[in-house]
Symmetry: none
Subunit: 226 residues, 2 copies
Amino acid sequence: METARKILVVDDESDILDFITYNLKKEGYLVATAFNGAQAIEVSKTFKPDLILLDVMMPVMDGIETCAHLKSLPEFAKTFIVFLTARAEEYSEIAGFQAGADDYIAKPIKPKVLITRLNAILRRKEKEETASTKLIVGDITIDRDSFLVYRGTEKIQLARKEFELLFLLASKPGKVFTRDYILEKVWGDEVLVVDRTIDVHIRKIREKLGDDYIGTVKGVGYKFEI
Amino acid sequence: METARKILVVDDESDILDFITYNLKKEGYLVATAFNGAQAIEVSKTFKPDLILLDVMMPVMDGIETCAHLKSLPEFAKTFIVFLTARAEEYSEIAGFQAGADDYIAKPIKPKVLITRLNAILRRKEKEETASTKLIVGDITIDRDSFLVYRGTEKIQLARKEFELLFLLASKPGKVFTRDYILEKVWGDEVLVVDRTIDVHIRKIREKLGDDYIGTVKGVGYKFEI
DNA sequence: GGGCAGGGTTAAATTAATGTTAACCGATTA
DNA sequence: TAATCGGTTAACATTAATTTAACCCTGCCC
């Protein structure tokens, strides 16, 4: 049972607003509009859009600010935000990703492209919502939607890094992950943290889950025990 | 005798395609492109890429579908698939890894990062291809992934040097390895250890595995008994 | 038998790697 | 502003891996 998807379009130019609105409505989307960031936030609260199409360049409160603001509100954490950017050239420098944008579409907008991309994005969102995101290994269940870990039926709360670390190890039970690899995957490329940091997180996981789930292979790394 | 690595880049936006292609070619890679998943599968069959760089978000057939499909075909089981994800997502949020992706790179893409990462990934792939992760000799199985040795079904834990030493000997069962060679391979060039050290490690392996697996050839070295 | 070459064995010494704790910092929240 | 939480680090403790040293076989040759 499919209900129509709701899209909020935000742009300070009313021609563009009209143009996009027209095309989206033709596709069967429910559309709301706003002229600036402040208005967008206002409207969002009642309209509860599935996706927000946000012009980067706006007076008063620009797209990036708006996006950052929206993403900071828990109720919109799962709302997709797509930027409209002036040109794709420097797409590698789109600051919006830092603000939490999920994708972007380059102007000038071609109706066909707009529609295909939005369809793709929403389809993906749907999949993410439906798809079970659970990882089950032995009596441990890791659910990345709720950010919870279960041992049997007992709920266990892990902090973010702990969660990511456990998730990584559990994604290939039995395989030993080297410290370098763990750092790259959980901490990222640029971040440089000291070796002990991993140990401390491992310790916290063991403290919460029990000592039998994560094994140490000295001189090599850690693994999830099967 | 290195032949250039082949990379297939898949994205629905031609700017991105061009941008990535340009950077990869500059690095000496052979590059093919595709606009969507269906095309990617088509091209792969003739181009036989070593690695596929796959945008997650695409209309028609998205990255995850495409990846799952490719991985289901035996001929691409060993092709590395790397996702391009829009957000800088946490590891566990990458839905794609369940579809069999080997790695991911977050947009926006910085050319330098892209190249570094791909080089690293391809190096890893090469290593995996050369050094098989599992070694089976008689009733002994040596598994690099988990750093475990099995005698029959019995799990045996070896320390790192012991493991490397056994792995070396077992890589050519029956062949006698001289002490010098063993030192070079297991200990490395710089390290200078006394001769007895090898004996002690051999002894520990025999202690854990049994006396019948490693043979001594006086005046020459050691070998794995067939 | 004595001596020696080549390992084998053991335990002690050393070093490397990880575990643990407490403290600090910054962000967020009460 | 205090309090809490997550993340990180530094300092120290603990444990295990590795190496060394000392001594023991065994076979061989004179």
